[in-house]
């Protein structure tokens, strides 16, 4: 069988979507940095970056250029190999998630029948990078940051999993495409609001954003796990953080806000042929942008949790609540059957 025979139209579409998705995700990190700085400036009555390019839009490029030109320092007592590998892990895992997210009708990299499980597995792998970075730096501050990251990931993975499980119950499938299609008429946020809240909080925690950013708590830990990182290795962590923001927003959109569907679209939306793809992508990106904005909004408004409060919230509030939510939905669905 030749190589050309493998290149079926379906595979070509998949490759194009994955390529486009990865391209979008990489750029979204840059745009998110810019958005974060502009929104933060707006909240703090400042102007924000407005010098590089039109309205400061090229600021992220200048930032990255600066980071690349910086000297790359590895701590003398640190583990050099792990120190170098650690920043790549969160970036790679973040990039892997776009494969199963549907951007539009038929616009999905791989329609896995266990897509939801794949997403859960991949997003939680990113914490290895943080923990290993903390360990490999041979610095007490970095180590504390890494330990916090591991504990936080463990505690918030469970409620997040339960929230997603309730979504899977409603959709009746583990395929992400099916989950989205099940919301064509009614978004799951209206059916399962508690699940949405739990997922949103857990997603904030997974992305290490305020109020759960104690992993990198600038004030007490000086920067947490990336204290000893410089140059583009630090840039990779930075990139991964903002990619996680985008992915978190995409997942919220996909699981609870109907993905690329407009509300009740099957009832009123006329057939617009191929333009539907453009509309789908626009709707999906619009929703993603809104949630990315909420991430930034929260970050610049409220203080952060303390370690023990974070644990208490995760284990004694969110986990029982998510289990009860799951049970209630299961029972209601069973009775309606």
């Amino acid at each position: 069988m030749g190589l050309l025979e493998l290149l079926t139209p379906a595979l070509l579409t998949s490759l194009a979507v994955i390529g486009g998705g990865a391209f979008f995700l990489l750029n979204s990190a840059a745009l998110a940095v810019y958005a974060e700085r502009r929104v933060a400036a707006f909240i703090q009555n400042r102007v924000g970056p407005n010098r590089v390019g039109p309205m400061g839009l090229l600021q992220p490029i200048a930032d990255v250029l600066k980071l690349i030109l910086k000297e790359d320092v590895v701590p003398a007592q640190g583990n050099k190999v792990v120190h170098a590998i650690a920043p790549m892990i969160p970036v790679i895992t973040a990039l892997m998630t776009v494969a199963v997210i549907p951007f539009g009708d038929g616009l999905v990299g791989a329609n896995l029948n266990v897509g939801v499980l794949y997403l859960l597995a991949i997003t939680s792998l990113g914490v290895y990078g943080v923990t290993l970075a903390g360990w490999a730096s041979n610095s007490k501050y970095a180590l504390l940051g890494g330990l916090r990251a591991a504990a936080q990931m463990l505690s918030y993975e469970l409620p997040m999993g339960m929230a997603v499980a309730s979504v899977v119950l409603l959709a009746g499938s583990l395929s992400v495409v099916e989950v989205v299609n099940a919301q064509r008429d009614l978004w799951f946020v209206f059916v399962n609001p508690i699940g949405f809240l739990i997922f949103f909080i857990a997603a904030l925690a997974e992305a290490n954003r305020t109020p759960f950013d104690l992993v990198e708590a600038e004030q007490e830990l000086v920067g947490g796990y990336h204290t000893e990182y410089s140059s583009m290795k630090f840039g990779m962590f930075f990139l991964a953080e903002y990619m996680h923001v985008t992915i978190g927003s995409m997942l919220i959109t996909t699981f609870f806000f109907g993905g690329y569907h407009l509300p009740f679209s099957s009832h009123w939306l006329p057939d617009i042929g191929n333009w539907k793809i453009l509309l789908d992508i626009t709707v999906f990106l619009g929703k993603t942008c809104f949630f990315a904005f909420s991430y930034i909004w929260i970050r610049w408004t409220i203080p952060r949790f303390k370690y023990d409060q974070l644990m208490r919230l995760g284990w004694s509030r969110l986990l029982p609540l998510s289990i009860v939510n799951f049970m209630v939905i299961a029972i209601v669905l069973w009775m309606m059957r």
Binding site: A40, I43, Q44, N45, R46, K140, Y141, L144, T210, P211, D213, L214, A217, E218, Q219, E220, V222, W300, T301, I302, P303, R304, F305, K306, Y307, D308, Q309
Partner: protein, 430 residues
């Protein structure tokens, strides 16, 4: 970890004897939480915070022994900003020394100027005119608001709400502009003079203060609605960094730190100076003694300061002299200096010799600075220089309490508690 092992591993190059003694002090310190000495997982860790650390408000150094994230015990190392201010004072005239006080508690320079001037006036027996006292009170209360705004911003920034820092700094900028109008300087004002103040308020300055005081309460109310019901903020502060009133008194804490434990100790009512016995205000207190109590006390103090300023502004409608009309006790006015021979000679003599209090007299005088009781103990030998000048700075005493407060806290609490106790290292190290 034993100090000998630690010392062997670290091989400190800077002040090795001090470093060794410091590690030993931590080892010897009484532990508040009993732990098993046979620590099989060796979960205990010695973590050094500072002197260069983003959240220690300058150059405070905290050496902590951690078990997981909990601080078993800690030691403070201060003195990294020591400039020998007290010794400098012995070689300056009283008036020449005043600009140095600006640089001690650099967040409220006006209070420091007033503290020195009132002390010297008490020593030399100078009665200042009424209007000068009112102007000084205005400056002191503005300085108190400014210092408390910095405390609020930094404490919240340390707990993660970064935007708050900028919101409070916007208001601080306005106060700096007011000081620019009042004193001609934004930061280190040096406006008070022995025997009065440097210059009268211009109508523009008065109008600017009135405008600020009418708008500022809205901002405070906005912050209070944001913070007083914020669960994360309350949880992070309630019951954190608690100290009882016995300990607070024994360690000599003052200011909002002691008022948060229930002791209404405020020099403005305890031993009124200037015209504080002629204005109406309250001394806010709380009973809990924790970080949240300090927050409430300081927020109420801001409101009381606004109340005082409003009363002072009424009194300032009456014109009058702003310095003592006695060339042996205060600078003559610039009119006299420029247009009369005697005035010029007096100005020269004041700058060269200065105020000469009676020989052998010694006094202690304290005012309520934003951080607490700021006292000057001065011994005079009859010349224009102090024989000995000792400064009782509130931050130094408050730091004594901090070491006790931090034992048993979580690591994440350290920054919030340091922010809540609100030391200024420029003042603590002098």
């Amino acid at each position: 970890m034993k100090p000998d092992i630690l010392h062997e591993k670290l091989k400190p190059a800077f002040q090795p004897e001090h470093q060794y003694a410091f590690y030993k002090a931590l080892e010897d310190k009484h532990t508040t939480i009993e732990v098993d000495d046979n620590d099989p997982l060796s979960t205990r860790m010695i973590l050094n915070m500072g002197p260069q650390h983003p959240a220690t408000h300058g150059v405070l150094r905290v050496l902590t022994e951690l078990k997981g994230e909990r601080i078993l015990k800690c030691k403070l190392d201060i003195g990294y900003l020591h400039r020998g201010v007290e010794k400098i004072a012995e070689n300056k005239t009283y008036q020449e020394f005043m600009p140095y006080t600006d640089r001690m508690d650099y967040l409220s320079p006006y209070s420091n100027n007033v503290a020195l001037c009132t002390a010297v006036e008490k020593l030399a027996g100078i009665e200042i005119p009424d209007r000068a006292a009112w102007i000084r009170m205005l400056g002191c209360e503005l300085a108190r608001i400014s210092a408390h705004l910095l405390w609020l911003g930094t404490m919240l920034m340390d707990s993660g709400a970064i935007s708050f820092f900028i919101w409070t700094f916007r208001e601080r900028e306005k106060i700096y502009s007011l000081f620019d109008e009042i004193a001609g300087h934004r930061f280190t004002v040096s406006h008070a003079r022995i025997g009065g103040v440097a210059a009268d308020l211009t109508p523009e300055a008065l109008a600017a203060v009135r405008k600020f005081i009418s708008e500022f309460p809205n901002e405070v109310a906005e912050w209070k609605t944001f913070l007083n019901k914020n669960r994360i903020f309350l949880d992070r502060n309630a019951g954190i960094g608690t100290i009882g009133y016995e300990d607070a008194i024994a360690l000599g804490m003052s200011g909002a730190n002691i008022r948060a434990t229930g002791i209404a100790y405020d020099m403005r009512t305890f031993a009124p100076y200037l015209k504080y016995d002629e204005v109406e205000f309250m001394v806010p207190t709380r009973l809990e003694g924790d970080n949240l109590a300090r927050y409430y006390v300081r927020m109420e103090e801001i409101e009381q300061s606004i109340r005082i300023i409003n009363q002072v502004l009424e009194k300032l409608n009456v014109p009058g002299p702003i310095r003592v009309d006695n060339a042996k006790k205060s600078y003559p006015s610039k009119d006299e200096v420029y247009y009369s021979m005697e005035g010029l000679i007096h100005d020269f003599m004041m700058t060269d010799t200065g105020v000469c209090p009676p020989p052998g007299r010694e006094i202690y005088h304290a005012i309520e600075a934003p951080k607490g009781e700021l006292g000057y103990y001065i011994q005079s030998d009859g010349t224009g220089h102090p024989w000995r000048l000792k400064i009782k700075s509130p931050s130094f005493s408050n730091l004594q309490g901090l070491e006790k407060i931090l034992d048993g806290c979580m690591l994440a609490d350290t920054v919030v508690v340091i922010g809540g106790v609100d030391p200024v290292m420029g003042e603590a190290d002098k």
